[in-house]
């Protein structure tokens, strides 16, 4: 069984989260690309809260006694995915950052060379 209180809390928090995220994207504070996963999980949360049968079904499927525990398990998996996607993004960014810094270093050297040859010509 899922209590109606839990359903309501779940519903309200996910709807508020959803609205906050959309509003942040709207104000150009969040990048849509990185918010998609959040929005998707909010959407799933709303479904879970609105249709209690869904949680009961998942609980039966995984032989979990209490549907609430199934919801906990799902939230845990969601968190795992979110954190993993962050790790992935950080790795990509750190690679690009390395490339960028190296490029700037090389450019600095180039500029220095050009400056030196100019001063010699004078």
């Amino acid at each position: 069984m899922i209590t109606i209180q839990l359903q309501i809390i779940l519903l309200i928090t996910s709807i508020i989260t959803f609205m906050v995220i959309i509003n942040l994207i709207r104000k150009y504070n969040l990048e849509l690309k990185y918010s998609l996963l959040w929005l998707f999980f909010c959407f799933v949360n709303v479904l879970l809260a609105a249709f209690s049968n869904l949680a009961i079904m998942i609980a039966n499927l995984l032989s979990i006694k209490e549907p609430v525990n199934a919801i906990f398990l799902l939230s845990f998996i969601f968190q795992f995915f979110l954190i993993f996607s962050l790790t992935l993004t950080i790795s990509r960014i750190s690679n690009k950052f390395t490339q960028l810094v190296q490029e700037v270093g090389l450019l600095k050297k180039e500029v220095e060379k050009i400056k030196n040859t100019q001063s010699v010509e004078r």
């Binding site: 959309i22 150009y28 849509l32 490339q99």
Partner: protein, 232 residues
């Protein structure tokens, strides 16, 4: 009027040869190739063909690459910037058609559309459905009929160059940037063009990504439509 052609290129060594052939005899525009950290010889090929090439040190995706071109256009005082894909899809012979509404002051952004006269390569059925869907979505939100919102063959004036060089959507930028302009009361217009099938290279959108693409662009358009007028 100083006109710049921006050619974003990612692994387009074959496409660029084609583009160079098409640009043969067109001398009144400058061309800049934005090499988005290609893994092949795009940069060398571009230089050998006599183009101006900007090499990005890491891969930014189509939005970031094109925006580099707009920044270049802005800093070098160009009056008109035109986007042309690096795969030979877009025939530069239409550039004068694209520029005309801007010269006459009728439009800020001119889009080359495959679907106004329905000639030439019309893309696959599934893509046409997707394009129609975006066209309808934009009409619903902005009350403006854009027949080919995903077209990457576009020209814009100095005002839009300035706007785009400060903010331009990251991935799959075309439909979103149209809504972005319409929301800020810029004028857009479409002119009929004939597009070729792409030569060499790969389209940036394959079948696996298409669902992600539809959802992402839909959300981007709807959210942009929720933004205030003047927020850039």
């Amino acid at each position: 009027m100083k006109v710049l052609v921006i050619v974003p290129a990612f692994n387009e060594e074959e496409g660029l040869v084609r583009v160079a052939e098409q640009f043969h005899g067109i001398n009144d525009v400058d061309v800049v190739i934005i090499n988005d950290c290609s893994k092949d010889t795009t940069s060398d090929v571009g230089r050998r063909l006599g183009f101006n090439v900007i090499d990005l040190p890491c891969n930014l995706g189509i939005g970031g690459a094109v925006q580099t071109g707009y920044k270049y256009a802005y800093e070098n005082g160009y009056d008109i910037a035109i986007q042309v894909d690096g795969d030979g899809q877009h025939n530069p012979a239409y550039i004068k058609d694209l520029i005309l509404p801007i010269k006459e002051g009728r439009a800020d952004l001119v889009i080359g559309s495959r679907y106004l006269k329905k000639e030439g390569f019309q893309s696959t059925l599934l893509r046409r459905i997707g394009i129609n869907y975006f066209s309808y979505l934009i009409y619903l939100l902005q009350k403006k009929r854009i027949t080919d919102p995903t077209s990457g063959f576009r020209a814009c004036n100095r005002r839009v160059i300035e706007l785009f060089s400060t903010r331009y959507p990251n991935d799959y930028p075309e439909p979103e940037s149209i809504v972005y302009l319409l929301r800020n009361n810029y004028k857009t217009e479409e002119v009929p063009v004939v597009m070729n099938e792409r030569f060499g290279g790969e389209s940036s959108i394959n079948s696996f990504k298409s669902i992600y693409y539809m959802i992402k662009v839909t959300l981007a358009i709807v959210i942009d439509n929720m933004r205030k007028i003047g927020l850039t």
